[in-house]
Every structure is written in C-alpha cells, then in structure tokens.
Amino acid sequence: MKLAFFPGCSAKSSGFEYANSALKLMKELGLKVVTPDFNCCGTHIVEEYNRDVWLALNARNLAIAEEIEADIVTICPACYQNLKKAKIILENEEEKKKINGILASIDKEYTGKTSVFHVIELLKKFTDKLKIKNKSKKVVAYYGCQILRPPELGIDNPENPKIFENFLKEVGFKVEEFKAKSDCCGGTFLLTNPDGFKRRAESILNEAKKVADCIVTLCPLCQFSLEIVSSDIEVVPFTSLILNERKL
C-alpha cells in the first residue's frame, strides 16, 4: 500500500525535526511514501467555528489520498483524531452528500476508501529493523492526550496504554514506568493561560526526572510544550531519537 505522509502544520517550524525524522525512517524502511498537498485538519477550533468547513477540510485531505490510492500516515495526534472523527461522521450518507457538494467546487470527491494511521501504528510493525545499538539510556514514553482520548478515537486503552512503551522496548530502550504518561501537556494554555502552561509542563517534567534521562514524545505539540519549559531533561520525538541512536 502506498502511504501519504501527513506531517501537519507544525512540520514547517516547531515540528520540523519530528516530521523529517519520521519521513526519513519510513524511507529507510523502504516504504512507498508520498507527500501530497494536504491542508490543515482545522482542529476543534475550526470545528467549533464552522462544522461544515471543518468537515470539508478533512474530507478534502481524505479525498486527495484516495485519488492516489494511498492510506494516510500522520505524526500529529490532533490531525489523526480529526481525520478519524471526520471519517466516522462521513459514514452518514446525508453528511457525505452535503460535503461532496462543497468539495465539487474544487473538483474533489470523498468516497471513504482511505485508512488513517498514526506513525507509531505503522513503525511498530518494523521494530526488528529499527534496533538501536546503545541501550544505556533510560527513557519514559509520553503519550499526552489526543492519541488516547476520547477512547473511540484513540490508538490504545486510555486507562493503561502500552503500545508506545512496548514499541520502545522492542527497539531496545530501557523504558521506565511513568505516572504522568497520559497527562495533558497543557499545550493549548500557551494561548489561553500562559502561567498555567508553564506549571502544567513542569509537573510532567518533574515526574519524568525522577525516573529517566529522557522523555520520548509522539505529538508535535507535546514535544514543543515540554521542550520550551524544560531546562534539565532531554525531550525528543521518538523518530528523532531512533534515528540518532542508530547513527551512534
């Protein structure tokens, strides 16, 4: 199956390393990856502003992957959640008809053929090819929110997720138990409550520092939020970490 890489809006700046390292890993694995002209998923902000616009934005992304017969693989849990949520809504024939009426104005049509994956769901199938050499680093796996919640859109059991730790262990990392693994990074507070933003990120960093040398992330916003507050613990997207450790 061909894969359409959906890096999300942060890939141009704050999520640059995560997006690039994910793409590089997929290419090293010999996967057939293309990068179509995707638009913003809109997030809940556009959804609350205008539901039909939000639905059409997501339907357009799904439709352009359909055109090239690709499945979508994304690094961003918010994009992942929005695409999946839109797909569920568009199973309703009336909604689909309405949205296709809008997409007709840009010569696109949504049918529902494309599947959506988060990059960890894809890479976990290739752990035997992603083994690292240096196994001394103690890490914690940090999920954040939207990859797990709400449960109907998440990739694992939100009460006790294992997928990320299991992946890192199979690759060769020493993964410590992390109490704050599915707590919220407070990323949205950057815009609504700057003081709260700092306190939220600090509580996650402090929890991680007790047990590990490094926090591994799978969300560009979590990565950025923790990174700008952290002063004494490494915070790194999981794909960058694997690439770096394989080079050593």
């Binding site: 809006c9 942060s10 141009k12 700046s13 704050s14 640059f16 390393e17 002209d37 995707f38 638009n39 913003c40 809109g42 997030t43 809940h44 902000i45 556009v46 959804e47 609350e48 502003y49 205008n50 539901r51 039909d52 616009v53 059409a56 934005l57 357009r60 809008i102 997409l103 104005s105 840009i106 696109k108 929110c145 939207q146 919640r149 709400p150 449960p151 939100p158 707590d183 919220c184 407070g186 990323g187 949205t188 507070f189 950057l190 815009l191 609504t192 409550n193 700057p194 709260g196 306190r199 939220r200 950025f224 990174e227 700008i228």
Partner: protein
C-alpha cells in the same frame, strides 16, 4: 438532566487542576439548567480527561457546543479568529502568519522563548509566511460554506475578545 453532580469531570480536569476558576461541573450545570454561558469555557485544554463521566454526559462536547454558540454570537477570542483566518488564507496554520494575526488583533504573545528554543535546534522561527499550494482551494471551501459573508474586520474582532481570556 443526566448529570448527577458527582464532579468526576472536575476532579480529572487538567484546567481545573491548575486554575480553580474553571469548574466544568458548575459551568455545565448552569448552562444546561439556566442556559447560562461561561467565558471560562475557553480555558478547556481539550485533553478529554472528562471522558470518564459515569453518566456519559460528555462534558467535552457540552463545552464545545457552548464555544460554538458563543462564536455564532460573535463572541470570538482573538486566538480563535487568528487561527481560523490563518487556515482560511494559507491553507494551513503557518505559525508566523498566526502570530502576526494575533498581534494585529491586540494579543501580543511573548514569543522569545519559542524563538530561542527553535534556534537551539537550528530552525528559523520567523519565516516569511508562505501559503501552501492548496490555499486557494481552502479559501474557496470557506467562501462556499460561509456564503458571501464578509470577514469581520480586525476592529470588530478586538471588541469581541472575551474578558477572562488573556489578550
């Protein structure tokens, strides 16, 4: 009303835990029983921790509905307006364009820590905003759905900024 006031949503809430002004149980009660809107609904972190509601009230969805209705009434926080307009004009959330739009609407953010973090990684944080290839198609989607309704001017956005959300 399905909610029996157990407060699980509030105990689990990321935002309530850092700022006691935000109480989703109380906000929902006043909204569902009295139709009262709370400006604090914008402080929700969208973390979905409230999914554990034993009565399946879906607090997140109720707060989301409240925000939608406030937007319909024209009470739009500056960051929401800047986000939507950036997507509309650029096809994606170009981060530089977003911060410029925020500043223009009177919401100045201290971006120095953001810029220095990116610089450490060798990334230029301030780029010339660049429209994605699909920008025209995205503007068209907005135009078709919203009809010919004119985008509200920056001034009216300023007036509509809700107090309680730092701007």
């Amino acid at each position: 009303m399905k909610c029996y006031q157990c407060g699980t949503c509030t105990a689990d809430c990321t935002s309530a835990n850092i700022d006691s002004k935000f109480n989703p149980r109380k906000i929902m009660l006043e909204y569902l029983e009295e139709g009262k809107f709370s400006e604090f609904c914008w402080l929700c972190a969208s973390c979905f921790k409230c999914y554990r509601c034993p009565r399946e009230v879906k607090p997140y969805e109720i707060l989301s509905e409240m925000r939608s209705k406030l937007i319909e009434q024209g009470k739009i926080p500056a960051y929401v307006k800047a986000f939507v307009e950036t997507v509309k004009d650029y096809g994606e959330l170009d981060e530089t364009a977003f911060f410029i739009k925020l500043a223009k609407s009177g919401m100045f953010m201290d971006t120095s820590v953001i810029i220095s973090t990116l610089k450490k990684r060798g990334i230029k944080a301030i780029n010339i905003p660049r429209k994605s290839e699909c920008a025209k198609e995205i503007s068209r989607i907005f135009l078709i759905v919203e009809g010919a309704e004119k985008v509200k001017s920056v001034d009216s956005v300023k007036k509509a900024v809700i107090s309680g959300v730092p701007s």
